[in-house]
C-alpha cells in the first residue's frame, strides 16, 4: 500500500519539478536570434473554415511581407498552424500542442467562440501571449486574463452598437431574430442585457435555425408585431432567408446585421430580391470589402500565396491581428520576452492597421478588448457604402 502511494506521488513530484523548469524557459520560449515561432489555431475545414483557415492566410501574408523586409529585430516570423476543428477538445489539443510540443512564443487565432473559450484556461495557465482574431464571445477576454487580448470587436460591442443604431434611426418597435447556437448566444446574452439597461422592451423575440430554408412564421410574427427595426443575430444564410421571406410579405423594417454579414454583395445574391436591402445595414470590423482598390496590394499577395482560396473579408481578420502582433513585437524591442511583449501589447494606443475599421487601443491591465469601433456598411445601387 505504501509503495502504491509512492508510485502515485512520483508523477506529481516530477510534474511539479518540470513545471518550475518550464516557467524559467517560458519567457523566451519559441525565440531564437533568427526567428520567432507563432502558433495559430482554428478550423481548417467545416462550415467555420472562414474564421480559421482563411484568417490564417491573412496572418501568413503579413508575416511573409515582414520576413521579406528582414523580419523584426532580425527575427523572421514563423507561423505554425493547428486545426482545432472548431471543437472544445480540439482547441485544447491544438493549444497544448503549440505551447508544449511546438513551443511557440505566442498564439494568434481562435475562430469559434466555444472552442476558444474552452481553451482559455489552458492558455491562461501556460501564460503564452494570445491575440484573439475571430471569435467574438466576450467571455474569452472578460474577466481579463494577463496574457489574452483581442483585436476583434467583441459580441457585446456589436450588440450595443446594433441597439444604438436602431435608436439613432428612430426605431420605436425593436425586434430580434437570433440563432440559439454557441455563436448566437454569445451575442444574444449581452444584447438582452443592454436592452434591459436601456429599458427597451422588444416587440418580438424570435429564433431561426442556421439550417432554416424558410422564415415565413418569423416574418409573419415580425409583421404582426409591427416591428420597425429588426436586429439579426444570424449567419448570412438564415439572415438572407429571413430578409427574403419578409420582403415577400412586403415587410421592410430597418434590418440591422452584424459582422458575419460582411460580404453584402454575396448576401444580396443570397436574398435574391431586388430592393430587399434598401433598409439593410450591417456592422463590420474591417475597413474594406475585398474588391476595394485600397487593399489591392494585400489581395495580390493573398492571391499569389493561396491561389486556391478565394479572397474574403475574413482574410482581413488575420491580416489585422497579424499587424497588431507585429507592432507589439516591434515595440517590445530586441531583448524579447513574453512579459515585454505583453507589456507592449497592453499599451498599444491608436494603432492603425490596414484591415480594421477603427484604431486598436489596449488598456491593460483593466481592458484587453482592443477594438471598439464598429463600422457600418450598407448596400446601395449595387455598391458597398460606408455609413457614418
Amino acid at each position: 500500500m505504501k509503495r502504491l502511494l509512492h508510485t502515485l506521488l512520483l508523477p506529481a513530484a516530477l510534474f511539479a519539478w518540470s513545471a518550475s523548469a518550464q516557467a524559467q524557459d517560458a519567457q523566451t520560449q519559441g525565440i531564437t536570434d533568427t526567428e520567432v515561432k507563432v502558433g495559430a489555431f482554428g478550423p481548417f475545414g467545416g462550415p467555420a473554415y472562414l474564421f480559421g483557415k482563411i484568417a490564417m492566410n491573412g496572418i501568413e501574408v503579413v508575416f511573409d511581407k515582414v520576413n521579406a523586409e528582414g523580419g523584426i529585430n532580425g527575427r523572421k516570423l514563423v507561423l505554425i498552424r493547428e486545426d482545432d476543428s472548431c471543437r472544445a477538445e480540439g482547441a485544447i489539443a491544438a493549444v497544448k500542442k503549440l505551447v508544449y510540443d511546438e513551443k511557440v512564443f505566442a498564439l494568434i487565432g481562435g475562430a469559434c467562440s466555444n472552442s476558444t473559450l474552452a481553451a482559455r484556461a489552458e492558455i491562461e495557465k501556460a501564460g503564452v501571449p494570445f491575440i484573439l482574431n475571430s471569435a467574438t464571445s466576450d467571455a474569452i477576454t472578460t474577466p481579463v486574463a494577463r496574457n489574452i487580448f483581442t483585436s476583434q470587436i467583441t459580441a457585446s460591442v456589436e450588440s450595443r452598437a446594433q441597439v444604438d443604431f436602431a435608436i439613432a434611426r428612430g426605431a420605436k418597435k425593436i425586434a430580434v431574430v437570433a440563432m440559439k447556437d454557441a455563436w448566437g448566444m454569445s451575442r444574444y446574452t449581452p444584447l438582452m442585457k443592454y436592452l434591459d439597461e436601456k429599458g427597451i422592451k422588444l416587440v418580438a423575440n424570435l429564433e431561426l435555425s442556421p439550417d432554416a430554408s424558410d422564415a415565413t412564421p418569423q416574418a409573419l410574427q415580425l409583421k404582426a408585431a409591427g416591428a420597425d427595426a429588426v436586429i439579426l443575430l444570424l449567419y448570412p444564410k438564415p439572415a438572407a432567408i429571413m430578409v427574403r421571406d419578409a420582403t415577400k410579405l412586403a415587410f421592410d423594417p430597418i434590418w440591422i446585421g452584424q459582422s458575419t454579414i460582411n460580404d453584402l454583395k454575396a448576401f444580396n445574391a443570397q436574398v435574391g430580391m431586388p430592393g430587399a436591402l434598401k433598409n439593410f445595414a450591417s456592422i463590420t470590423s474591417t475597413k474594406f470589402d475585398p474588391s476595394d482598390p485600397a487593399i489591392a496590394a494585400w489581395n495580390d499577395r493573398l492571391k499569389a500565396r493561396f491561389p486556391n482560396d478565394e479572397i474574403s473579408p475574413f482574410n482581413m481578420y488575420g491580416l489585422g491581428s497579424a499587424q497588431v502582433f507585429v507592432e507589439a513585437l516591434k515595440l517590445a524591442g530586441r531583448d524579447l520576452t513574453r512579459d515585454k511583449f505583453l507589456a507592449a501589447l497592453g499599451q498599444l494606443k491608436n494603432f492603425k492597421s490596414d484591415a480594421y475599421f477603427g484604431p486598436i487601443t489596449c488598456n491593460a491591465p483593466t481592458d484587453h478588448q482592443c477594438n471598439r469601433t464598429p463600422g457600418w456598411f450598407a448596400w446601395k445601387d449595387d455598391k458597398l457604402v460606408t455609413l457614418d
Partner: protein, 327 residues
C-alpha cells in the same frame, strides 16, 4: 487468484503500464492530454461495443449519452458546487437512466429502425442542451473549475490523467468479466436471434436493459471524465462528429471484441490527430475508415492480430447477421 496470462491480457497490462508511465517518462502536456483523451475513448468504445457488438443493437445515441454524462457531472458542479468525485457517479447515473429509457424503443425496433430512432433521440437531446438555457447554459457551453485532488500533491491535469487511467483499467476489467459471464453469453444469443433467444428462456427486457444500461454507464463515466479533463462543456462536442468517431472506434478495433475496443479507442485519437496534422479531411478519413472496415475487414484489426499472433486467444462475439425485423 489464478491469472492465465494470455496474449490479449498481457498486451492490455503492457498498455496500461505504459499509460501509467508515460507522464513519468517525460510525455509533455500535449501528449498527456492526448493519452487522457485516448483512455476516455477506450471507455466509451468498450461500452458501445457491449451494446453494438455483443448484443447486436445498433445504437446511434451513444454520443448523446456521453454528452449527458458530461453535462450531468459538470452541471452538478456548476449549480450545486458539489465536488467532482460525487458529481462523476451522479452524472453517470443520469446517463444510465436516460440510456435505459432507450430500451423501450429497442424492445420494439431493431436494425435500421433502432439506429434511426436513437439518432433522432440523440438530436433531440442535443436540442435540449442547446435550448434549456437556464439549466444547460445553452449553446455557448460553460466552464467548470479545475478539479482539485487535494490533499494529494498532484496537479489537476495529472490528477485527471491518473483518475481516467484507474477508471479505464477498472472498467476494462469489468467489461471482460461481463463478456465472460452469463450476461455476456445472453447478449450474444440476443444478437444472433431474438426469437430463439427468447425461446431459450432469455428475458429480452432484462438483457436489453443490461446492454443499454452498461453501455450508458460506460459512456456516462467517460463523459464525466471528459468534462473534468476539458473543464468546458458545450453541445457541439456530442454531435454527429462524435458519433462517427465512436462508430469508427468500434468497427476499427473489431465489432464484438473487447481487445478491439481498447485498440479502437486508442487508435481513433491517434488517427484524428494525424488527420489534422496532415490537413486531411476528417470527414473523408473517418467516413472512409468506417466504409473500408465494414466492407473489407469486418472483424476489425483484432482479426489481423489473431492471424499473426496465434496466442491471441480472445473469443470474438461479433454477431454474425442480425437481421432487421420489420417494425
Amino acid at each position: 487468484m489464478l491469472l492465465r496470462l494470455t496474449s490479449p491480457m498481457a498486451a492490455g497490462i503492457a498498455l496500461f503500464a505504459l499509460l501509467f508511465a508515460a507522464p513519468l517518462l517525460g510525455a509533455n502536456e500535449y501528449y498527456s492530454y492526448i493519452l487522457n483523451l485516448m483512455m476516455i475513448h477506450v471507455i466509451v468504445t468498450v461500452g458501445l461495443n457491449l451494446v453494438m457488438g455483443h448484443a447486436g443493437q445498433l445504437v446511434f445515441a451513444n454520443a448523446a449519452i456521453f454528452g449527458i454524462g458530461a453535462y450531468g457531472t459538470a452541471l452538478l458542479m456548476k449549480h450545486f458546487g458539489l465536488p467532482f468525485w460525487l458529481c462523476l457517479p451522479l452524472g453517470a447515473m443520469l446517463a444510465v437512466s436516460i440510456g435505459l429509457a432507450l430500451v423501450f424503443p429497442a424492445l420494439r425496433l431493431s436494425g435500421i429502425y433502432l439506429a434511426l430512432a436513437t439518432l433522432a433521440f440523440a438530436q433531440c437531446a442535443l436540442w435540449v442542451m442547446v435550448h434549456w438555457t437556464p439549466v444547460t447554459f445553452g449553446a455557448g457551453g460553460f466552464t467548470i473549475p479545475a478539479v482539485s485532488f487535494a490533499p494529494l500533491p498532484i496537479s489537476p491535469d495529472m490528477g485527471m490523467y491518473y483518475l481516467a487511467w484507474a477508471v479505464c483499467a477498472l472498467l476494462v476489467v469489468l467489461a471482460r468479466n461481463i463478456v465472460r459471464s452469463r450476461i455476456g453469453r445472453a447478449f450474444v444469443a440476443l444478437s444472433d436471434n431474438e426469437i430463439s433467444a427468447q425461446s431459450l428462456g432469455i428475458d429480452l427486457l432484462r438483457y436489453k436493459a443490461a446492454a443499454f444500461g452498461l453501455s450508458s454507464l460506460f459512456a456516462g463515466i467517460a463523459g464525466g471524465l471528459f468534462a473534468g479533463t476539458l473543464r468546458f462543456v458545450g453541445p457541439e462536442s456530442f454531435d454527429l462528429h462524435q458519433m462517427i468517431l465512436q462508430l469508427v472506434a468500434v468497427v476499427l478495433g473489431g465489432i464484438g471484441s473487447l481487445a478491439g475496443s481498447v485498440i479502437g479507442g486508442v487508435l481513433i485519437v491517434v488517427v484524428l490527430e494525424f488527420t489534422k496534422a496532415t490537413k486531411m479531411s476528417v470527414e473523408i478519413v473517418f467516413g472512409g475508415l468506417l466504409l473500408v472496415f465494414v466492407l473489407f475487414a469486418k472483424g476489425g484489426l483484432v482479426v489481423f492480430i489473431r492471424r499473426f499472433l496465434p496466442s491471441w486467444n480472445e473469443t470474438l462475439h461479433a454477431s454474425p447477421a442480425p437481421r432487421s425485423k420489420a417494425p
